[in-house]
Amino acid sequence: MPYQNRMELLQGTLDLLILQTLMWGARHGYGIAQAIRANSGELLQVDAGSLYPALHRLEKKKWIGAEWKVSENKQDVKVYKLTAAGRKRLTQERTRWEQIKDAIAGVLNPAKKENQP
């Protein structure tokens, strides 16, 4: 994968992406990385050094749960899924993201600023 195609993730958005990805069903770590890449049109590349610490952190906060399953080729696979608390958190994170997005847009287009309530 060519380096220049990758985009740096904004601080704090990885949690949001993971939670959102798990909305569509339980996945293992590699699956989550792949889903994020696919859904971002190959633009967002989550590297393992960020992914696994994030997963473990979210697990510790009980926003996602983990369980061990056996794959087709008889391997133990750790699969993450969203918890109820995680769902709530996802809503909050989404709201926060919307706010950030609007705020940044406001800064980038100052002309519109006066029209904002």
Partner: protein, 887 residues
């Protein structure tokens, strides 16, 4: 451990997770057409540093600190190994401090803190009778009559139950075919064991039927069971002989059951612990017991769980008032005090143990101040290392934690050494302890002591580690790196100076107190006891049942003993006495009547004793006869009663007069001694009331006239008295088989025992002082050594400008003495205050005794001078050229 397992499991899981990730990435690449090798390499590349990812993931688990502590510990251990001198010194200082504290704590724990070995011991109370009459008539041992006990038991509602115990020092146990042995026994009511809540190990405790039937049954202590029956199960049901009568053993108590702990000072001898219990109704020498109104009992009671001590006291007050009305003759002046049993057993030990604890705490504080100065001094030389660590990214907190880990590591090693030292120290304290302290013999280094020691060690570690850590956090690593060590040096020196000052202050307190106590001991040793204690053998010869032995048999025995013993070659004089010493706090008495003398008002009474003697008692002790005559064989039961008095008594009644021929009557509330006794002799005073008390008034009577037992024999010999002991013993035994011999010692040893408490105190304080002086020296030396090292460039400059070696020495000595001097000034104030605290323990010196205070002061000044002198001399010998290039 559990943590570690968890951590291992999660690490394994993480490994699997990552392996799976890599495998999936690889498989996908192969599906897209890559070769096996390309796929593997690509997957790895995309993943990045596997180790780093793992570490980052592990960080989120929150156990990072554990790993860091491991790192800190390893680093700390490395540093300690690198400076073996410093490490050994620090561990020793702390080990001594902690060891002393652990030893004293284990004594404190065994004697005071541990719950008593009974069920719910906090509910157990003593019902202690108080008496408002003057001493002469008063009940002073808290005992009560059987009638009052039954009344209490009937009338109270605040206690679950009340039981009697009554210890006696006369009990004698023999097993057929064995040597008679003196054993302490106690009469107890049938409910006693149930009330204490302890089941016998074997057999059963007493029942009401045992008491009703007045059967001779006995419960043995574990110790007696072991020594007399070898722990045999057949003991229960077999017989032991008390006063020649068979008593059936019905039960054996478990080893931890001991009560009462010490059978008091019976005739000035601590007789040891109660070894057997018999029912209250079986006194072999008194059939009317226990209802005999003169029999007195101690009462122990169990408080109902919901009742407070105050409520119990209130009810007992009401009952006592009611009894005072009901039985005005006996109970009018009596009250009842509800006391905790634990206070009754070990209340007296509270104060001395607290003082001892205070002393060792002082030693520990001094040790900690000392270690803090050493750590500070070393911190200065390590400033650079720390600055480098800070500069390459260690957070300040991380460096401080590193320093604390080091000091705590050291403290824990010191704690371990302390615990090792505490073992022998405890043995020493228990072995040398001058008085019988309940439960002292049960002192152990048990888990409680370990927890205490390591907690104290940990606290110390944090304490003396904090000073250098604070020092570091207050300094700026950039400055440190740029300018080197001088920046921290001067402020560090100030802090060290304060610590050294504090150490000197505390040391002076301890040293001055030690001086006062040791001087008191020396004063006591210098006392003239009023007789010549060298070359005297003492021996106790007791009839197995003195109450039931005819006076004639006793008189005959003493007469024959006198005749036979004085014929032994090397024996100069032989005598006997009812008592030689009266070491208990003696009460004030007066005489019933003194010829030509008005009755004395109660307020002017002083201690007074009557004692019976036989043979050449005064000659044996070498107490000079001042006037009149000694007793003669003509002073017998048929002749007029005579007495010999001492100077104190003569001065009390006939000051400036000749007492010979004067007549007096004894003062006995039961109406005995109601005949005139004529004074025939006057002897010099002896300190029979204890060496530290003034002699008291004494009246000597002759045994042949009074007929009571005089079990204490004194034999004056021309050579070493103990050499004659076997001969004397065999003669005494052959005279009467019913006599038990004990306490065969020299009079020197008896006096030695009387000063044992002071000797122990002096010895202990001396030891603490030596320790403290050593610590003070090490502290000053350590500080000055490092200080000189810091100042080498400055010394170079000064010498380059013409300062002589002497100037340099005096400069350093002056600086050191400033701190030591300030500390000593503060210490002097504290020491004067602590001197007034121990005022009651002093003898022959005032609590501001200049010798003790100035001596301690000078000793510490000398220590400070010496400890400064050597580092200062090293400074003065520095070559200025080398010094200037030092940086």
């Amino acid at each position: 451990m559990k943590h570690w397992w968890n951590w291992r499991k999660r690490s394994d899981e993480l490994e699997k997770e990552i392996q799976y990730h890599l495998q999936m990435a690889e498989t996908e690449r192969i599906e897209r057409g890559a070769s096996q090798n390309e796929a593997q390499a690509g997957a790895r590349r995309e993943f990045g540093n596997v180790g780093l990812v793992k570490e980052l993931a592990r960080d989120t688990w929150g156990w990072r600190w554990l790993e860091q502590i491991g790192q800190d510990l390893r680093h700390g251990a490395r540093i300690l190994r690198k400076n073996p001198g410093f490490t050994v010194l620090a561990v020793l200082i702390l080990g001594l401090g902690i060891g002393a504290n652990a030893a004293v704590f284990s004594v404190l724990h065994a004697v005071l803190l541990r719950p008593l070995p009974y069920r719910n011991p906090k509910q157990l109370m003593m019902l202690w009778v108080t008496d408002s009459r003057p001493h002469n008539f008063a009940v002073t041992d808290g005992s009560t009559s059987y009638r009052d006990f039954l009344e209490w038991r009937r009338q109270t509602h605040v206690f679950e139950d009340l039981a009697i115990f009554y210890k006696r020092g006369w009990s004698v146990v023999t097993l057929t075919g064995e040597e008679p042995e003196k054993v302490q026994g106690a009469f107890v009511s049938a409910n006693f064991f149930a009330l204490m809540g302890v089941q016998p190990l074997l057999g059963h405790a007493f029942t009401e039927e045992d008491l009703q039937r007045r059967e001779r049954v006995v419960v043995l202590s574990h110790g007696l069971w072991q020594s007399r029956f070898g722990g045999s199960l057949e003991a229960v049901g077999s017989d032991i002989y008390i006063y020649g009568k068979a008593w059936r053993v019905v039960g054996v108590m478990p080893p931890q059951f001991r009560f009462p702990f010490l059978a008091g000072n019976w005739e000035n001898h601590v007789e040891g612990e109660v070894q057997l219990w018999v029912p209250l109704t079986t006194n072999p020498s008194d059939e009317s017991f226990p209802s005999d109104p003169s029999a007195r009992f101690q009462v122990v009671a169990r408080l109902s769980p919901t009742v407070t001590l105050r409520a119990a006291q209130a009810e007992m007050d009401t009952i006592a008032a009611r009894l005072a009305v009901q039985y005005p003759d006996s109970d009018k002046t009596l009250g009842v005090q509800v006391r905790l049993l634990s206070e009754y057993i070990s209340g007296e030990m509270h104060r001395p143990l607290m003082l001892l604890s205070l002393c060792v705490l002082l030693v520990l504080l001094i040790a900690c101040a000392n270690l803090a100065t050493l750590f500070l001094a070393r911190g200065v030389t390590r400033a650079r290392e720390l600055a480098v660590r800070a500069a390459i990214g260690a957070t300040r907190w991380r460096v401080i934690r590193q320093l604390l880990t080091e000091s705590v590591l050291l403290a824990i090693i010191g704690g371990g050494v302390g615990v090792l030292l505490a073992g022998p120290a405890v043995h020493l304290i228990v072995a040398l302890s001058p008085i019988s302290v309940p439960r002292l013999d049960e002192t152990r280094i048990d888990p409680a002591v370990l927890i205490f020691s390591f907690s104290v060690a940990l606290l110390c570690g944090l304490g003396f580690g904090l000073a250098p850590a604070r020092r570091f956090s207050a300094s700026d690593p950039h400055e440190l790196l740029k300018t080197g060590q001088q920046i921290t040096a001067s402020s560090t020196f100030r802090m060290q100076g304060l610590l050294v000052g504090a150490q000197f202050a505390l040391s002076l307190v301890l040293l001055a107190s030690a001086g006062l106590l040791i001087r008191s001991f020396v004063e006591v040793l210098a006392i003239d006891p009023g007789f010549q204690p060298d070359h005297i053998l003492t021996i106790r010869a007791q009839f197995t049942n003195p109450d039931a032995t005819p006076p004639a048999r006793m008189a005959d025995y003493y007469q024959r003993a006198w005749e036979r013993l004085r014929e032994i070659p090397g024996v100069q004089a032989v005598g006997t006495a009812g008592n030689i010493f009266f070491l208990e706090e003696n009460q004030n008495h007066a005489l019933r009547q003194v010829e030509g003398h008005p009755p004395e008002p109660v307020g002017s009474w002083t201690p007074l004793v009557w004692t019976q003697i036989s043979g050449d008692y005064f000659r044996a002790l070498a107490i000079p006869l001042l006037e009149g005559r000694y007793f003669t064989p003509q002073d017998g039961p048929g002749s007029p009663p005579v007495a010999i008095i001492n100077q104190t008594l003569a001065k009390r009644y006939w000051p400036g007069e000749d007492p010979i021929g004067k007549r007096l009557k004894g003062f006995d509330p039961r109406g005995r001694n109601d005949e005139w006794v004529t004074v025939v002799g006057l002897v010099a005073d002896m300190r029979s009331h204890g060496l530290e008390r003034a002699p008291m008034a004494e009246i000597y009577e002759v045994q042949a006239q009074r007929g009571e037992a005089t079990p204490n024999l004194v034999v004056r010999t021309s050579a070493d008295p103990m050499q004659l002991a076997p001969t004397i013993r065999s003669i005494l035994r052959s005279l009467d088989k019913g006599v038990i011999l004990s306490s065969i010692t020299s009079m020197q040893d008896v006096l030695h025992e009387q000063t044992a408490a002071r000797r122990f105190q002096a010895w202990l304080m001396g030891l603490f002082s030596a320790l403290v002086v050593l610590l003070a020296a090490v502290g000053v030396y350590g500080v000055m050594h490092y200080f000189v090292t810091q100042r080498i460039p400055e010394i170079g400059v000064r010498m380059a400008f013409g300062a002589s070696g002497n100037d340099i020495v005096s400069m350093f000595v002056r600086r050191a003495m400033r701190f030591a001097g300030a500390g000593l000034a503060v210490g002097l104030v504290l020491a004067l205050w602590s001197g007034s605290l121990i005022k009651r323990m002093l003898f022959g010196v005032t609590n501001s005794d200049p010798v003790s205070f100035l001596g301690a002061l000078w000793l510490l000044v000398l220590v400070a001078l010496f400890a400064t002198y050597f580092p200062a001399c090293r400074a003065s010998r520095i070559d200025p050229m080398v010094a200037l290039r030092y940086e």
